[in-house]
């Protein structure tokens, strides 16, 4: 599936580990889709299914995020640098409801609420892992 350019959402991205890995990530498993790997360009989306949505609850933060199933492809672009990465949805997350109202800014412009999680491979393609989160636009 192609990596598209139609605007889908905007917000914060964080990063997470999954699949075979070292340290505490070694127990993370392959995620809700069963395919998640830290070293692949993949993402977790907070509405891969009704069951997923009931955990992440982005609606409690005012984010009526549309459902996209495992295997969906998205283009995630850093709000300021323009660096982008094409990712495949491979897990359910992040837990948006736990961090309602959190904002990440660059160049004086902020994005609010955690709306997507990226694997280390994907996140590091558009930013630094040590920052923990980035403001992004999401396309499909």
């Amino acid at each position: 599936m192609a990596c598209g350019s139609t605007a889908l959402w905007a917000g914060e991205t964080t990063w997470f580990c999954c699949g075979s890995s070292w340290g505490p990530c070694g127990s993370a498993g392959t995620g809700a889709c069963g395919t998640c790997q830290s070293n692949a360009h993949q993402a977790a989306w907070p509405n891969t299914s009704a069951a997923c949505f009931s955990i992440t609850r982005p609606d409690l933060c005012g984010e009526t995020i549309v459902q996209r199933a495992c295997g969906s492809v998205m283009n995630v672009k850093h709000q300021c640098s323009g660096a982008s990465v094409c990712v495949t949805v491979s897990d359910c997350g992040p837990r948006t409801q736990s961090f309602c109202g959190e904002a990440t800014c660059c160049n004086g412009s902020c994005r609010t609420n955690r709306v997507i999680d990226l694997t280390p491979a994907a996140f590091s393609a558009i930013g630094n892992l040590s920052s923990g989160k980035l403001p992004v636009y999401i396309y499909e």
């Binding site: 070293n39 640098s81 660096a83 393609a125 892992l129």
Partner: protein, 207 residues
């Protein structure tokens, strides 16, 4: 980010700069110019970090099995092998920005860089033992937090002059007194291979 090559005046993009650095001919510049920023600085002022003209950066993860000069031999978690070339512009993070001396055999890492013709990756950034865990706080002591990550119980050590907290997205503070048992939190830190604990760089407390 582009640098001007002092000899030719031609623009020097990240890929060519790293390639040159790996071959030993680079003019030294601050590593942050290539994207390596410490956690607090990046959190306080997240700047654009990567040259969008670079469409594909190389990535590697795994555990360090050998250090030979400036090359890290890494066993990937899927049986793959990597040779990570550290250069004089490589940004290294291990709980905080640090130098190659702090990197040890047995450490885990994520590395970003450029594929070299000899099969190595010339790294512009290496994050050693870095973890970013969604956890639930289970216990609080003066010098540590106890938390669960999924079903995995972990101890996170508070590191003086390093550990900071952010409450509901607020500014970073060294004051952890508002952390409560049962809260959801994100722990950015460095895993300790020796005891499987974590040194905490930043705890972001949620609702």
């Amino acid at each position: 980010m582009r640098q001007n090559h002092e000899n030719t005046g031609r623009p020097l993009d990240r890929r060519r700069f790293l390639t040159t650095a790996a071959l030993g001919g680079a003019t030294i510049v601050g590593a942050s110019a290539l994207g390596g920023l410490d956690a607090d600085a990046a959190f306080a002022e997240p700047m654009p970090s990567l040259d969008p003209a670079i469409t594909k950066s190389a990535f590697a993860e795994g555990r360090i099995t050998r250090i030979k000069g400036s090359v890290l031999e890494v066993a990937g978690s899927y049986g793959d092998q990597h040779l990570i070339q550290l250069t004089n512009v490589t940004s290294i993070w291990k709980l905080r920005p640090t130098t190659a001396d702090a990197v040890k055999v047995g450490d885990g890492l994520y590395a970003r860089g450029v594929d070299m013709p000899d099969g190595t990756i010339a790294a512009d950034a290496v994050w050693v033992n870095i973890v970013n865990l969604y956890v639930t706080i289970r216990g609080i002591a003066k010098d540590r937090l106890h938390f669960t990550h999924g079903s995995h119980e972990t101890v996170g050590h508070v590191v003086p002059d390093t550990t900071t907290a952010s409450y509901l997205g607020g500014a970073l503070t060294p004051d952890l007194s508002r952390v409560r048992i049962g809260q959801a939190a994100q722990i950015l830190g460095a895993w300790r291979p020796a005891d499987d604990a974590i040194d905490i760089a930043r705890v972001t407390v949620g609702h």
